[in-house]
């Protein structure tokens, strides 16, 4: 889990890019080192060959063929020239003197450089070495070859090559391991902050992200997040204070108004017309107040101030009470209202709020369902999750409106003239959110099926 997160994290991707770039640069530097080192070694060897060739040539010019033969034999006998190879041949390429008995078949040019595998082992050796040699032809058409065993040079180059390649591989492996470790640490820390944030969103603003006391950048991130949480908590408190004050300040004059209207309504010298007018005004005032208290209530639920009342409750019991309460209302619409499903579906929550949410859903189902149809409330435990669903067989809701209906005051076109204030589903959404429950809307074909997926109860 953590490894998967490590591999997909942006830090790790950055590290990979860094390793790639770094690797290309290191490879380029090491290739340059390798190439220039081997070129340097080769050029030094070539210079030694040229020097030797020139020295032999001048001996030939000075002392003739015999003089050179003598010198070559002297050189072969001298162990300090053991790396060198000499061949002096007559114009028909028959060896006159030298450390190799036969003229190499590839050495056809009059002069120049050749590289060849020796046709026979050198004296005091068993392998046929790789040789690099300079050829030359004297005016007498005698030919001279001076060369060196370059097997060792190649061995040296190979060693450098091996060293460079192992270095590069080692660097890649170390960088890879290091970046995984670093990323893992980062991801682990971010994950712990994420987990803490999720817990805070779930259970309220009184918690804080724990610090490790290391005073590193992660602690600073956590500190700043905690400061933000402090600020949010303060603001929420202020908002609550303001809405409490508004509630108080609005309700006092409204209480007076309602009182006056009521007094007028019950007055003795009042005509029937005026009485009806006042009665309607009181009813309207009450409707406004109901909307007002619904809004306050939704806002209050949304600020998650009610988790204190959470207990383990049985959805089946609550659903049963709701159905009992709405039984008469369903009967009036000729709607069959039934509860089905498991006998015990436990959730951790606020009984009154869950009741309120289910009551709103059942109310909607009866109101917007088909007259003479049926409304089914089903309680189930699905994969350990408590689920309650409320289904009707009415006209349903077009899927494009599924999201909309939870907005405050939103009303579907065809329900604009049925009683209600468009706040019922907002309340359901707020209650669901408080309980960490997920709302799922399904086509009951015909009708609407609304499912509330709660999380498993806390033991």
């Amino acid at each position: 889990m953590l490894l998967a997160k490590t591999l997909t994290s942006s830090t790790f991707r950055l590290a990979l890019i860094a390793i790639g770039t770094f690797g290309v640069i290191v490879s380029a530097i090491f290739s340059y080192v390798y190439l220039s080192t081997s070129a340097y070694v080769r050029s030094r060897s070539d210079r030694a060959i040229v020097t030797e060739y020139l020295s032999l040539k001048s001996t030939y010019e000075r002392s003739g063929r015999d003089g050179l033969i003598a010198l070559i034999q002297e050189r072969i006998a001298d162990s300090s020239f053991a790396d060198n190879v000499y061949i002096l041949a007559d114009p028909s390429l028959v060896t006159l003197a030298g450390s190799l008995r036969t003229w190499p078949s590839t050495a056809t040019a009059a002069e120049g450089w050749i590289e060849f595998r020796a046709p026979e082992p050198l004296p005091n050796a068993t392998t046929r070495p790789l040789l690099r040699a300079m050829l030359g032809t004297f005016p007498s058409r005698d030919r001279l070859l001076v060369g060196r065993d370059i097997s060792e040079l190649d061995g040296f180059a190979d060693q450098i090559k091996t060293a460079v390649i192992s270095c590069v591989v080692l660097i890649f492996v170390l960088a890879g391991v290091a970046s995984i470790l670093v990323t893992r640490r980062t991801v682990g820390r971010i994950e712990s902050i994420n987990a803490a944030s999720r817990a805070i969103m779930q259970s309220g603003l009184d918690q804080r992200i724990p610090l490790r006391g290391t005073h590193d950048e992660w602690d600073r991130v956590a500190e700043n997040l905690n400061l933000m949480l402090d600020r949010i908590e303060t603001l929420m408190g202020e908002v609550k204070q303001v809405s409490d004050n508004v509630a108080h300040d609005l309700r006092t004059p409204l209480t007076r108004t309602r009182g006056r209207l009521e007094k007028a309504y019950h007055g003795h010298r009042i005509g029937e017309d005026a009485k009806a007018l006042i009665g309607d005004t009181i009813a309207d005032l009450d409707a406004v107040l109901r909307i007002f208290s619904s809004l306050t209530r939704i806002a209050q639920i949304e600020t998650q101030a009610r988790r204190g009342a959470f207990r383990t409750v049985n959805l089946v019991d609550i659903a049963g009470e709701v159905v009992e309460l709405y039984d008469a209302a369903a009967e009036q619409e000729n709607t069959r209202l039934t509860v089905v499903g498991d006998r015990e579906v436990l959730v951790t929550g606020d009984r009154d709020l869950i009741f309120d949410a289910i009551a709103n859903l059942v109310d909607n189902a009866i109101k917007h369902g088909r007259s003479g149809g049926q409304v089914v409330v089903a309680n189930e435990n699905i994969d350990g999750k408590p689920v309650i669903s409320i289904a009707d067989d009415g006209p349903g809701i077009p899927p494009c409106e599924y999201e909309q209906v939870f907005k405050r005051f939103y009303r579907l076109e065809h329900s604009r003239y049925t009683p209600g204030n468009g706040l019922g589903l907002s309340l359901v959404a707020a209650v669901a959110h408080l309980h960490g429950a997920r709302i799922e809307m399904l086509d009951n074909s015909p009708g609407l099926k609304l499912k509330l997926w709660f999380s498993a109860p806390m033991r």
Partner: protein, 230 residues
């Protein structure tokens, strides 16, 4: 009822609301004392003898809940009706937990307030242990949980029986929809539709259908009242 049982202490800081309260309670035959602050309420409350005390939740000096707690600590057992503008579920619960007997949210109808004060005042009377309640020709057997009119059984669901019992116990008094929800269903919530009316309507059909006279009456704009004619 004795005079002492008709005395009410109203704790309310808004002068106009207080005036309306005093007026409507006085009209209903109560002897009303008014306190406009928490301290005054504590002073007056200490003299005792009130049948019911109504306390506004938000007072200029001391919080209404604190006043009520103080009453309880001082051994004043009179039932308390908390009147609040906060109207939030939490406050309602907090108010009741602190020893309040009932809770009413501003703005309220005075009929509703009167109904609740009546119900609370009755609760402070000695509770009569009866097994059969009678109103007119209606009889409720509280032991077998059955109802009958003129000896003819009425088939009721348990909740319907509870509703009828509550109406009978408050015979002659107006009972609001909110009171029914609270006392019959134990619910503090505001249903957007007329489910209570529909429910009462069903009980009424069973109780009053094909009878000599109706017992359950609708009180327009307020609720219901059960009473025998005459």
């Amino acid at each position: 009822m004795t005079g002492g049982h008709r005395r009410i202490l109203v704790v309310e800081d808004d002068p106009e609301t207080a005036g309306q309260l005093v007026e409507s309670l006085t009209t209903s035959g109560y002897q009303v004392d008014l306190a406009t602050s928490g301290n005054e309420a504590l002073r007056r409350g200490a003299t005792g003898g009130y049948a019911v005390i109504t306390i506004d939740r938000m007072l200029p000096d001391i919080d209404g809940i604190t006043v009520m707690r103080q009453f309880r600590d001082d051994g004043i057992a009179a039932p308390v009706l908390i009147v609040s503008a906060l109207g939030e579920v939490d406050d309602r619960v907090r108010g009741l937990r602190a020893g309040g007997d009932d809770y009413l949210v501003k703005p309220f109808s005075f009929v509703e307030l009167l109904a609740r004060v009546e119900a609370l005042g009755r609760r402070s009377d000695t509770i009569v242990k009866e097994t059969i309640l009678r109103v007119g020709d209606l009889a409720l057997d509280l032991v077998s949980r059955t109802a009958s009119r003129r000896g003819k059984d009425i088939v009721l669901f348990p909740r319907e029986f509870q509703l009828l019992e509550y109406l009978v116990r408050n015979e002659g008094r107006v009972v609001s929809r909110a009171m029914l929800l609270q006392h019959v269903w134990d619910l503090h919530f505001d249903p957007s539709t007329n489910i209570i009316d529909v429910y009462v309507g069903r009980v009424r059909r069973k109780v009053d259908g094909q009878q000599a006279y109706p017992l359950i009456h609708t009180v327009r704009g307020t609720g219901y009242c059960l009473r025998a004619p005459g």
